[in-house]
Amino acid sequence: MHLHKYEKIWLTLGLGSLALFLLIIGFAAFWKGTHPQSHIETIDPQNVEAYEAFKPENLGVREVADGKYIVNMVASAFNYDFGTDIDEKAVKTIRIPKDSTVLYQITSKDVVHGFQVAGTNVNMMVEPGHISRYETVMKNTGTFTVVCNEYCGVGHHQMYGTVEVYE
């Protein structure tokens, strides 16, 4: 088969990028251990309180080490449960100091929800029966809106929260 010289060039570039991306996927999956946010770890959606991290008293932000935080949350139609403050009022804003490492852990009690901290890389699907986790460094200060980006019902648009990263 005769191929034009130019055709050989763009076919090589196309096939080369395909091979490169396959190698990157293999490297990320097998060497670096990158997986989807839900590591096939299951939980009973009817009884999320039975799981230590999702007990009502463990919800919200917790500092586990110097500069390391864990945020436990439960999503349900149409609310994010970030725990309660000292006055027993529901927390709507998560406050985290800049440059700290944060592990977000969330699960759903009912239907599929989303958890996106808009303007950051934190973006997960929250499925009932699974635990979604994402660890990241909050390197930019600001007030970020948490939005549900999976349509979950009539109150979907009312499902939001706030993450505040301060200096």
Binding site: H2, H4, Y6, W10, L13, G119, T120, N121, N140
Partner: protein
């Protein structure tokens, strides 16, 4: 026979003499656009 051969060869001769310079430039421009999009998104991922 002598007359038939040149006629059969004509299409392939035409093909090799097609000027693909414009096509090549368009394909490379598309490739550059794709590369800029990839690296741009990667930079966005790293900065957030």
């Amino acid at each position: 026979m002598g007359k038939g051969n040149p006629k059969q060869q004509q299409p392939s001769q035409n093909e090799s003499s097609i000027n693909l310079k414009g096509t090549f430039i368009s394909v490379m421009l598309l490739g550059i656009f794709i590369l800029i999009a990839w690296f741009g998104l990667y930079a966005l991922f790293l900065s957030r």
